[in-house]
Amino acid sequence: MRRIVATLVLFVFSLVSIPLALQPAGTVKPSYVAAQNVPVLRWGATGQSVRTLQWRLQQWGYYDGSIDGVYGAKTYGAVVNFQRKNGVWPADGAVGEKTWRALGLLNAVSGGAATAPANQPASTQGEAVSYVNRSDQLDLLARLVAAEAQGEPYEGQVAVAAVILNRVEHPSFPNTLSGVVYQPHAFESVSNGLVWRRTPSDEAVRAARNALNGWDPTYGSIFFWNPYKPVSSWIWSRQIVVRIGNHVFAH
């Protein structure tokens, strides 16, 4: 009888703990071991970096499973296969700095807490105090780039930043950066809060700065979307300019 009681109490506690588990992931420490800020992924790892890994392996034909962010048997097989073919030794399935570099994702996954000070806009540290600077804009833009275009080729990250800036200049969109970023239902990562959970990597900050400096690989595009994700069919009626990495850019 006592066991039933214990089970019941446990059941109640597990119910109460559900909302705790549903808290934004950013408040929970990542489970991977960080060496030089690069996540080391092993069997059983989960999260965005696993997703990035699976996506790249799939892109290069090593992986045919689903991109679910869980490092399981299929991912392991693909990683070992990749390591053998690319001379990453030992081919033990652990994805560390060497493997990330071979995947061309070292910059995409590095970052996180330890690099945060470097991401601080220099103007807050420098001596020149001015009432006008672009550091707030740079930070907001870099956040959106990090949330929307992580794992994309560098010019693809600049392209996402450029689309946001093109919208600011476009008559059909709000005419401030914050207006464009926070427009309801405009960006998935803003709607689901990812934009605040991810610290922009140095690469994302550089991409944002490049776009603010006027580089626009999308030639004035105002839309981008990932054709692998479900998108409204309306969006395909826009005039497509270019496809970079996993994103289609359009007027």
Binding site: S123, S172, R206, T218, V241, V242
Partner: protein, 453 residues
Amino acid sequence: MTRSWRIGALLAGAAFAVLLVWGLSQMQARREAENQLINRYQQAFFDSIGHVENVEVLLSKGIASSAPEQIVSLFADLAREASAAQANLTQLPLQQGTMMRTSRFLTQVGDFAYSMTRQAAGGSPPDSDSSDLMQRMRREAELLSAALHQIQQEAGDGPMPWEELRRGSNATLREDSKHIQQTGFTRLESHFQQIPTIQYDGPFSDHLLQREPRGLVGERVSEARAEEIALRFIGGNREAGAEAQAIRRVEGGDIPAYTISVDPPGDRAEVVMDVSIKGGHIVWMIDKRQVGSAQLSLNDAIDRAQRFLEERGFENMTPTYASQADNRAVIPFVPEIDGVRIYPDLLKVTVALDDGSIVGYEALGYLMSHQERTIDSPEVSAADAREQVASRLNVTDEPRLALIPTPTLNEVLTWEVAATHGEELFLVYVNAANGKEEQVLRIVQTSEGDLAL
């Protein structure tokens, strides 16, 4: 036995009560958050109706009025109201793209009002063309206002069902109202897709939204030729082991181009660039290598960039306000022809400050506007321009001639006068034909370099 049953039942009851309380509080919190959000949306919606009504009224007053001072203040109000209406309308939680043309119309009304203020301040009253345009805009504003009112009325007593409108689903909408509400915004949008083009002297006028690149001279180049051009641009050659390959095509933009990936010899990082299909011009280039800590000064970097451009056939390029961040210097260059700086033809070179190599190049602006120009000699003398500015500011440099772009993509010859006011540095542009002040830029010094605002 019965005792432990009772304890069990008691515990289960307590657990249920805890769950119930927790669940109810969660529900209430969620409802509160939802209401707050709906209220924000309702406010934006009501505000947009109010501003659209004001737009309509101000346009009708603009038609009725004739005194220049009155017109200036009327159109200043109109510009503000139209831009507020657009800002509120774009914050409604509708499906992407639902209100694009509608908000573009409002942007154009505001932009038109702004250009009218400038015109009226210059002393010229609205001509018949702009009166006609005002009549048209007024009719559209009436219609917009009526349509928004209708959408509001059809929501009945409650707030608008924002979530359903976005998803396009109709789970909780009443059968009769859902159809009209869902299509209300869409119908509005398709109306504004069909209105005739709106042309006036402002940057968002329909005739300016389409533009052709002027600097794209030359014949069409093949993909193989573009690969060669890309290799040559970064000074690589196949004998040394560099490889170039077209990886995609840019078709729908202002400048159709091949994107070429160049793989330099050794373990150097990839270099990517766009080569225009017409003429084989480099539109942009990026070297993806990691840049080490800075060894070079900004002046060294400017020298390197200048040499880079000269080697590639760009002559008479003058560096302007450079900025520096992340161990890289971005140096904008403009052509200087017979002492006149041609600001529309701006291109940018990025220099890595570790070894002085060129890691970035961007020439879209240059290719869009560069052309052979005949530049008139100035009617206003440098001394007059200086005199005009010196009444308020301390002029620091000799005025020099500069061709600057106007908001409507025209070009105007000016005297560029650098001057200070207290600690602050300004660039004042005085029209070289009539002595009017065309533009004032304030140079803001940040740790990354000078910013012209």
